[in-house]
Subunit: 149 residues, 2 copies
């Protein structure tokens, strides 16, 4: 069973930065250029079990990451979500807290020789559209965001 | 241009509860039974502009609302999102902070003579599936959650 979160935490190649309580990774799926995953460092099953200091630290992550991605790719806004559906594919679900962030773009953007077009701008993101760029491009996106932190 | 958030704030019939900084409304769209919208009381455009005390108060909202909906309808988990796409349909976007919460269900649930089935359980919610129940049912859902607060 593929779990993008587990894959990310085992693959530091996508790692962008960390704070006291959170780690940020570039998502493999890049239909919305700069899509990232923010993962709590400790295993915590539920949003309601987040500690105050973890939540305040999360706000720091949001500010730092949005600022960097705005500098890198100039999106108009960001869609944040905390879903954890995949964990419930298993008989004994073992979810842990992570957030997805999708930058959203009004205009086409060119990066690393590719064109990214957000065809759903101003509408809900389309979860069925997947774009897996090659490793070279993925690392260029990651490095660009890291430079702009 | 329809804005569910504006509709909600002008229609107190869907109001469930409030805290110091947030108001909670039942969403009109109830494909995922108990779907709600949580709206910041002050006009704030961006997640990154949330104040610490507002964010900590939001955690109280999450805890109180999830506990009540669990008691009302016993969902397996909750999907939270902060998107704000609709605001960008306008030439001069004027977003303000709100969160959507969709309870997710492994089993069919009967309520107010209707059957609710989460056909995407353990997968991303389907934003294209809409279920607008009649006012009577909507008020019954709201009252049930209020009773369980």
């Amino acid at each position: 069973m593929e779990c993008e979160i587990c894959n990310l935490s085992n693959n530091n190649k996508n790692f962008i930065f960390e704070t006291k309580f959170w780690k940020v990774y570039l998502a493999y799926e890049q239909y919305y250029l700069g899509r990232c995953v923010v993962q709590l460092k400790r295993h915590c099953r539920d949003f309601t079990e987040l500690k105050k200091e973890e939540l305040l630290d999360f706000l720091k992550v949001v500010k730092k990451l949005e600022k960097a991605i705005r500098k890198s790719f100039n999106p108009q806004l960001f869609n944040w979500s905390c879903l954890m559906n995949n964990a419930f594919k298993f008989k004994k679900p073992n979810p842990y807290i992570h957030f997805h962030v999708r930058p959203r773009y009004k205009r086409e953007i060119e990066f690393a020789g590719l064109t990214f077009k957000d065809q759903e701008f101003a509408h809900h993101y389309d979860n069925k559209k997947k774009r897996y760029v090659n490793k070279d491009v993925l690392m260029k996106i990651k490095e660009k965001i890291k430079e702009d932190l």
